[in-house]
């Protein structure tokens, strides 16, 4: 069921301790900052978070990690120049890390949404990230068995939603949004604009409303340039 909610706090209120939460975004583009702030406020803990990175600077996911709400990160690129909160927790042994090549991360999320039980991929074969995993040679290439990543909740950002929950995104802020929306049991979206049903061209819808559960309008969140400034 689709709900339009008034505030980001209302939108995330149902997130329980111990949930697996996917968070969209690559760098700042597509990061649902306001939803992450609300998640911090709502107090859910023992979270497993799926995001490409592990937080940057003193905002968003980095604060969630700093406050000890994140039990485990599933990501491809945790170490950045300004990932100090993750770095500190990791070195203190206070956060678990599942490091996943970015393409495997994307494909595993996609697999969850598409009902795939697992797949073989050449990415990672022969590397330490395939250690302990099933492998086989297919058409002469070594391949690794990878499993879907499901989530209880996805927090994503889109540009625009219509009354049916159909979404369009903006430029490279699209990134993980569409596949996370499909992989999570409950998808919460912050958008810059809500248009009437019929206001999006059916040919151009990127995420059909079937994947969307809660929508909240956040003024000015269409372009992360403003946010990052």
């Amino acid at each position: 069921m689709l709900n339009f909610v008034d505030t980001v706090v209302d939108a995330v209120a149902g997130i329980k301790d111990g949930s697996t939460v996917m968070i969209g975004g690559f760098g700042n583009a597509g990061q649902p900052f306001e939803l992450i702030d609300a998640l911090l406020e709502c107090g859910a803990k023992e979270l497993t978070v799926v995001n490409n990175n592990a937080g940057q600077g003193d905002q968003g996911l980095a604060l969630l990690i700093k406050e000890g709400r994140v039990k485990k990160m599933i990501c491809s690129f945790p170490r950045q120049s300004d990932s100090w909160h993750f770095d500190a927790k990791y070195k203190a042994g206070e956060i678990e890390l599942e490091l996943v090549p970015q393409g495997n991360l994307a494909e595993r999320i996609r697999a969850a949404g598409a009902g795939i039980g697992g797949f073989f991929t050449p990415t990672g074969y022969g590397t330490m990230l395939a250690e302990g995993k099933e492998t086989r040679i297919i058409d002469g290439r070594g391949q690794v068995f990878e499993t879907p990543i499901h989530a209880d909740v996805a927090l994503i950002k889109a540009l625009r939603a219509d009354g049916k929950g159909n979404l369009v995104y903006r430029k490279t802020a699209r990134n993980f949004g569409p596949i996370m929306a499909a992989a999570a049991k409950h998808t919460i979206v912050q958008v810059a604009e809500i248009v009437p049903t019929g206001g999006l061209d059916p040919e151009n819808v990127v995420t059909p409303g079937i994947y969307v559960n809660s929508i909240v309008k956040v003024a000015g969140s269409g372009n992360t340039a403003e946010k990052a400034a």
């Binding site: 490091l99 994307a106 991929t121 022969g126 590397t127 949004g177």
Partner: protein, 233 residues
């Protein structure tokens, strides 16, 4: 082929980073789809010509990426894999992350250009993790690029700061991909790597004999001839 058959191209001086980027750019076939890794490989984009009609892919969901954005072009929703604001060229397209990596993993990119810590004689690549105790690993899209692109070019200095060769018999750093690198562009020479070992295509300010003293794997000379002027456009 023995070391005495040095029918390879040479130039008089080592290549600087920009000269090397120009050389890589010139080696990219017209109409290619290319992904340039973070760091030194990004320099290649400065030397691609309009006539080459090369389309750049960025792993975070775009084909047709243009140069870095400046001033009022800067848009936080339009960044490259290094999170630098970039621009959009006519004919660009956007797609989600699984579709973007399907382009890489499905073998559709003609070339990716990556930096490296080490490359083995048979083209194994190590470029993501030093393996040092306590180091926080971060892999990003490196393994997908290394495994998926039709050709993987590496750009690096031949030697570490300590003077050790980065072309090695077998990588001591954790691998990114197995047997994936096809060419290595360094300040001292261009190497072709593959199942048959290492071939030197051209040298810059050095001889094949001198190179062989630096590099701990057998080097063969390429059959090609001619001279490369590093300063030529």
């Amino acid at each position: 082929m023995s070391l005495t058959e040095t029918s390879i191209q040479t130039s008089d001086a080592p290549m600087g980073r920009d000269d090397l980027a120009r050389l890589v750019a010139r080696d990219i076939a017209p109409g290619s789809f290319v992904n340039l890794g973070i760091g030194q490989p990004t320099l290649v984009s400065n030397y691609l010509t309009e006539e080459q009609n090369v389309t750049l892919h960025t792993e975070n969901g775009m084909l047709g990426m243009g140069p870095a954005a400046e001033d009022d072009e800067i848009d936080g929703d339009l960044i490259n894999a290094g999170k630098i604001p970039v621009t959009e060229l006519p004919g660009a397209s956007y797609f989600h992350h699984a579709d973007s990596f399907a382009i890489m993993r499905g073998g559709h990119l003609d070339i990716c250009v990556l930096g490296a810590f080490q490359v083995s004689a048979t083209g194994d690549l190590a470029n993501w993790h030093t393996g040092a105790p306590g180091a926080i690993p971060a892999v990003g899209g490196a393994m997908d690029l290394a495994t998926g692109a039709k050709d993987v070019f590496v750009m690096m200095t031949l030697l570490t700061r300590d003077g050790a060769s980065k072309i090695v018999e077998s990588c001591t750093y954790p691998l990114t991909g197995v047997g994936c690198v096809t060419r290595v562009y360094t300040d001292k020479a261009v190497f072709l790597t593959g199942p048959d070992g290492v071939t030197v295509r051209e040298t810059f300010g050095t001889t094949l004999e001198e190179l062989q003293e630096l590099v701990p794997v057998p080097l063969k000379a390429a059959p090609a001839a001619g001279r490369r002027d590093p300063g030529a456009p």
